[in-house]
């Protein structure tokens, strides 16, 4: 397959390598030229612009961190809409807001191109190993054409439906449940700590019972017990970015999400206390502060 790839950050790099390794004809582009260096020796074509990476491609994948970035790359001058051949597919793989996905979908349709949304589940190490979970949504024929790419990058495919925004909704809802799980743990740990219970005991009770096997508890709970908030997986600043997308999606669809609202308030409190660069588990510290513990 003739594939283009835009956005070679930590996640994008791993995914692009998998696609190349699966034998596809790959062109890559990143605003930071150094990011493409090692792809040259691996046999990929290095493009120097969005327009160039789109040329002759059947599918172009974007893995960009923010809505504004994918918006520019797709809709800007000499962007994907202007450059992709008719009938080609834009596979948007980041976590984007509903409004952005709708705007991209409409613009590509107008240009006789197809948008599919394929947000991913997993960290860079899983991306490099081709072990991501992926959530594709879009027109059936386009999803079918992309199956070889799904196979190259993922261990598990969750088909979400024919509308790209369905995939965004699922990814955002999953993040919402995670945020709520993080702050619920923060509240639980504050409660027991105020009675003099060792946090490790609550951690053991949780993770050997109702929450056994769930990384959302086994991982974040451990960070709270050890207070190792400097070892950052997903920082609070990324949390607030996603939480804002979730709140916007909830607003568009008219869904009150009171637990998630609480999560947003704790994120803001943490940032207000200068802790935005810490891991999201540090929301437990914000909760502790609110409880008079710190």
């Amino acid at each position: 397959m003739k594939v283009g790839f835009i956005g070679l950050g930590r996640m994008g790099k791993g995914m692009a390598e998998r696609i190349l390794a699966a034998g596809h004809d790959l062109a890559v582009y990143d605003v930071i030229p150094q990011a493409t260096a090692e792809f040259r020796s691996a046999g990929a074509r290095i493009a120097s612009s969005v327009a160039e990476v789109c040329r002759d491609r059947e599918v172009v994948i974007t893995m960009l961190a923010e809505d504004a970035a994918v918006h520019d790359v797709a809709l800007g001058p000499a962007g994907m809409c202007a450059s992709l051949p008719a009938g080609a597919i834009h596979m948007a793989s980041g976590t984007y807001g509903i409004a952005t996905i709708r705007a991209l979908e409409a613009a590509h349709q107008k240009a006789n191109q197809v948008l599919i949304a394929v947000p991913v589940l997993g960290r860079p190490d899983l991306a490099a190993a081709g072990q991501l979970g992926i959530i594709p949504a879009g027109p059936d024929a386009a999803l079918k054409r992309c199956e070889p790419l799904f196979k190259a990058i993922s261990r598990r495919v969750f088909y979400a439906g024919t509308k790209p925004e369905s995939a965004s909704a699922i990814k955002l809802a999953n993040n919402a449940v995670l945020g709520c799980a993080i702050i619920a743990q923060g509240e639980g740990f504050s409660l027991v700590r105020k009675y003099g219970v060792e946090p490790q005991v609550l951690y053991d009770v949780m993770t050997e019972g109702l929450f056994a096997g769930a990384p959302a508890y086994v991982g974040y709970g451990k960070t709270m017990v050890d207070e190792t908030y400097d070892r950052v997986g997903s920082p609070i600043t990324i949390g607030i970015k996603d939480a804002n997308l979730i709140a916007a999606a909830a607003n568009i669809a008219r869904v009150p999400m009171p637990s998630h609202d609480v999560y947003i308030e704790r994120l803001l409190g943490s940032i207000a206390h200068g802790e935005g660069d810490l891991d999201q588990a540090a929301l437990a510290r914000e909760q502790a502060r609110a409880s008079g513990l710190d």
Binding site: I135, A176, Y195, A214, S259
Partner: protein
Amino acid sequence: MRVGFIGLGRMGQAMAGRILGGGHDLVVYNRTAAKAADLAKAGAQLASSIAGACEGREIVITMVTDDAALKQVILSAGGIRESLAAGAIHLTMGTHSVAEIQRLAAVHAESKQILVAAPVLGRPDLAAAGQVGIVAAGPPQAVEKCGPLFQVMGRRTFNAGPKPEHAAVTKLANNFMLGCAIGAMAEGFALVRKYGVVPQVFYEVMTESLFAAPAYKVYGKIMVDEACDMVGFTTLLGLKDFGLIMAAAELARVPLPSGNAFRDRLLSAVAHGNGEKDWAVVANEQARASGLE
């Protein structure tokens, strides 16, 4: 060991059966005597009063539904306080409020008895199989003395500390996180449903990645199947637990905003006549609030 057991509901019967099976000398008492019949057949002695269940016992276990029942069996005339020997242990295994456990620990101490709190984690089927989790707290020597009983009743004992209330608050915090998980899932399902997503897809995304745990698998499935009539734990019991949780939080000055949000959903579910349904029914409440029903 010479053990007494008071409170033979579904959990209590199963736990007492394990103790008997472990070869201990067991006396049982229940207000409704019929519930003791199976245990008597299996070799337990029947007491006709609380005093009878305390006489000559090293440890008396209570497994009663709420704080009021616990106070009754301890403080009433002929209750455990009057009947249990000095130096003997009252092992209370229900889910009770932190404040009540603190008060009752003091009451027992005045009578030279020892209170150990050891609430259990798990349903009656696990209790019958000796597979519940036990969160134990109290004076270390007393907790240690209860060890052989924990061994026959549970798969794992978590030692929560030297004060009985440590166990109470740890159990409540665990229930708290379960409630919050249910409330958060309900919000997630409402969001995806409003975008036309099939709920099963979201269920799979959750439970095959970040949330591959019983809490999400069990309650998420009930929400997908809308099977809240098959009751594991009722909304009213959930509301009772969250009452205990919020009281413990107020006592210790810990704001629990997620807990407040969930408690409000429970209240709405009860207000709409769903108090006796499984507490996963908060998903219906969330759906209603989202204009989905």
